[in-house]
Symmetry: C2
Subunit: 322 residues, 2 copies
Amino acid sequence: MRGLHLDCGILTLRDDLPEPESRTDWTRVQVAVAGICATDRALARGYLDFRGVPGHEFVGTALDGPLQGRRVVGEINAGCGACGACATGDSRHCAQRTVLGIAGLQGALAERLALPTANLLVVPDAVDDEAATFTEPLAAALHVADDVDLAAHSRALVAGDGKLGLLCAMALQLHGCEVTLAGRHPERAALLRRPPAFARGWLEAVPAERGPADHFDLAVEATGDPTVLARLLPLVRPRGTIVLKTTAEQPAEIDLGPFVVRELRLVGSRCGRFRPALDALAGGLVDARGLVSARYPLGDGVAAFQHAAEPGVLEVLVRCTA
Amino acid sequence: MRGLHLDCGILTLRDDLPEPESRTDWTRVQVAVAGICATDRALARGYLDFRGVPGHEFVGTALDGPLQGRRVVGEINAGCGACGACATGDSRHCAQRTVLGIAGLQGALAERLALPTANLLVVPDAVDDEAATFTEPLAAALHVADDVDLAAHSRALVAGDGKLGLLCAMALQLHGCEVTLAGRHPERAALLRRPPAFARGWLEAVPAERGPADHFDLAVEATGDPTVLARLLPLVRPRGTIVLKTTAEQPAEIDLGPFVVRELRLVGSRCGRFRPALDALAGGLVDARGLVSARYPLGDGVAAFQHAAEPGVLEVLVRCTA
């Protein structure tokens, strides 16, 4: 089959990729549309030494199994099914897990993929293909509410105005937070139904301006720049929380003193549950379609990756089935 | 009056120190015994540029005010009394606070000190002077329970077998945790009523042995070595918690990736409430007296500091009133 393929950081379009295997309790999916996110671009730079088909944001049609013919999205962590984490339904922390297009499992930037049937959710008619590709990052954004008592963290700063930052801002607004967005693109605040306050320069290495000390109950790091964390510390009130929403490819030098003296909390946050994200999309609570910067056919997938890496680009979508 | 004095990292014994001022709503205290802790030794190395009388672990007798003549210990953060933090009774996070022997307030390693009267607690007869000097560090150790749901974190690792580590291990046992203590002095496990499992070598830069991956729900960093945090990450289960209980004098290079991928939580934890600590000491729930390595009169206070800095020494106490 046709798909994109990564090998030692080299991305190619191939027509000879093996079809995903048919396995008990798994379902094969014909991919309609897949997105290219920052993690995919990091993989293409060599992050995690990934080899194979990248891509984990997708919508498609189930080709077999109980959902055959239905339009589906799918949670990306495929657990072993036997460990304690899997027993509680949370394959996100199965130590043996594979992860779609990220670790040990061929991804979505191809004509077909396979996932455990239990990972798949039928997409409501109210959610079109492009919106459905945002289920995965929106689930990750909404997951902040699983880890932080947002009722006690009403003043929130989102650091980063890329796709994930914007989705986090939307998610926090859904939970009643008063959101300030910090980044480089003030015009992006208008992509939210309720445009948040926008702060420019707070995240720069030599800040042109500084945020108000101790002002925020919560800060969400969504830039992927490991040096930003240190700049968030003084902006968060004592006993406030910083959520790390993005992985950085490099370690950072951090002075842990303020964490202790100001009793801050740092919460790592990764994948979320798809059901609340699909519900939010279906109910029109979140409109992610304004985040699409460009659309490519799978045959131009390498160009799509190049486009996604350009400054100022939000989401690039790839149509995988003609 | 007589007392120890720090100036640009030079510690001297002086007989010409000014008496603490008499202030409305403050009480002067004749210090009976004061302890020398790791923070005091760091101040003596120049940490925080502290000048004045160090010392914040003490017991003494109130010289005036409503507690005159009573034996007291005292919370070390003196708030402004007017801000939001102070209004909720938590001067620990008042932005204008002074801190006894640490920031802007003359400390306990002298004949007399002064603190807000509201900071003082009467010491029950069942707690002798030496045990009472452990109220402050025990309060800090018990404070972990204010910040972490210990019922959901039953398997706990305490990193560091110094005084604070041992008190944290005692405090966690009081809350029902199954504690493993990691350090260099296996014999110290016997200082606890219920000796915990002891792990040697887990915290070394090139570990002779490694702890079991994903085993602990909670790890408490009580070494003060900023490089230890990275070694704790793999020992804590996904979605587990690491409490930073000690400030480090230097920044550390940290790979934040595992925080996100494994959804770990880092919780900074500083000063605790004195009441539960005094209750635990009075009830015989915690016996801290085994932690005393040496006793000095105030006149030998400089030698006491030197002794406290020697390897393998736990608490050094200074009798400030003959």
